[in-house]
Amino acid sequence: MKRAALVIGLVLVAGTVLTALLSLAWTPYDPLAVVPANRLMGPGPGHWLGTDGYGIDLLSRIMVGARIAVLVGVVAVAIAALVGVPLGILAGTAAKAERWPRLVADVVMRGNDILYAFPAMLLAILLAAVLGGSTATAMIAIGVANIPPFLRVARAATLQVSVSDFVTAARGAGIGRFGIAVRHVLPNIAPVVAVQASLAFGMSILSEAALSYLGLSTPLPTPTWGRMLNEAQPYAWSDPLLAVWPGLAIGLAVLGFNLLGDGLRDLLDPRLRESVQ
């Protein structure tokens, strides 16, 4: 049962990523080519998912949208992990230290709480106002908004690893704080970070869709899932399928990453508890 969830997650994630990669090389039609004669065609053999109000092939647009979603997800998760994990390890290893390292850890954690409390969407709107709406804006905004959960997860796992005898043994072997963090803590918290990354990836796809729906992400004319939803709005009653396809794409991708994350957690947790590899 749990294995099934993991497998479904993997399939959905692989589908999303492969679609994105395929779109770089091939799409059934030009995702930007306006063909007025083909307006609002239903699904059929020529256009599998039909066409939109400009007569553009929806499948082609969904495929390009996958590319943006995956790209933003990768960069945003990378930003969040590269900032959050080292700070989390720092906060975790310094939590039991004396005087100033602990002060640093406390400052990091309070800063993290503040960032956590700040609404991610507001942060994105703010950034877009300063930098202008672009793919990079979405990446940075979603990445920064995702730092706090990474930091917390990394800190909690670090606290757990830090009390193991092998960390004490490493200290007894003359390994410094940095060496312990890199050689012992990081490899041992990696599984937990991987789970968090998968969940954050799902969240960032959802956030990207929201931002591009509001026009704060990738500018025109590149199609994104959020923009497609926005463009489908006038046709919500006459041609609801226009909104269903991008909605389905978002839903399946997010579901895939969440199932993958949950599945990974189930897979890795018992092994962590036994502290067997």
């Binding site: 005898d165 490493a170 003359g174 410094g176 041992n188 502290s275």
Partner: protein, 261 residues
């Protein structure tokens, strides 16, 4: 015996947080080079805390610990190289004292690659040669260095931990309940290995145990701890044949004896 002891522990106190009673309460003891000291006591008597402080893995709240006439209790980590090179520890449970994500070879050679220890006089410089040497010494196949701890049995893992402790050629070996987490069937083997190594390497031994028979087998002097205090010290024979302290008598009475046939 040299006139200056290797270790001088004076009035050491270790208090955790706001605990009512300190874990270690005004303990003083000397350890001479070449001596084999057993520390016995029930769980919670402070024996592990004491040896952790001697290995500079924990800091005393008050008191002084001198190693080779150098005060170690207030030293920052980066100045503890001399102690780390000379004093190595074997922990109770090798399932937690070996990093599950590090190969056995990497674990064993960790002290040799440490920035504090490497290039220090007496610490072997040829990491690979030393790895093979210590693995053979503890009865492991050096070809297994690439494996991970979970591929070994409990007894083998403790041998790995012992090999790691031996790697930098320490003078003192601190063993904290080295066999109590192991299967009864392999305890004797590991204890005999320790005894052999202590003899062949001329090590000074500090052995913590709640098992009096183990201490009797490996040590020549014994300190009995109860509620954070050392209640009695003496040679193993003295303490065995004529225990002065009431607590020691209780401990000795608890040793199971087989009726003589």
């Amino acid at each position: 015996m040299s006139e200056q002891p290797l270790y001088q522990v004076r009035d050491v106190v270790r208090r955790y947080g706001h605990a009512a009673r300190p874990a270690v309460d005004h303990v003083s003891l000397d350890l001479a080079a070449g001596e084999r000291l057993g520390i016995v006591g029930e769980s919670g008597s402070g024996k592990s805390t004491l040896v952790r402080m001697m290995a500079a893995l924990d800091r005393p709240t008050a008191g002084s610990i001198r190693f080779r006439d150098t005060e170690i209790s207030g030293l920052p980590e980066r100045r503890l190289g001399f102690l780390r090179a000379s004093v190595q520890m074997v922990f109770q449970d090798p399932r937690s004292s070996l990093d599950p994500r590090m190969t056995v070879g990497a674990s064993i050679t960790e002290p040799l690659r440490s920035p504090l220890l490497r290039r220090r006089a007496g610490v072997p410089a040829d990491t690979r040669a030393r790895l093979e040497e210590v693995m053979a010494q503890v009865g492991l196949d050096p070809a297994d260095a690439r494996r991970f701890p979970h591929e070994f049995s409990g007894g083998q893992r403790q041998r790995i931990a012992i090999a790691r402790a031996l790697a930098p050629r320490p003078q003192v070996l601190v063993a904290d309940e080295p066999v109590s987490a192991l299967d009864v069937s392999v305890r004797a083997q590991v204890l005999n290995l320790l005894a052999d190594l202590v003899a062949s390497e001329g090590l000074t031994l500090v052995l913590v145990s709640h098992d009096l028979a183990v201490v009797r087998h490996l040590c020549d002097r014994v300190a009995v701890m109860s509620s954070g205090r050392v209640v009695e010290t003496g040679t193993v024979e003295q303490v065995w044949s004529a225990p002065r302290d009431a607590y020691t008598r209780t401990l000795l009475a608890a040793v199971p004896r087989l009726p003589l046939p």
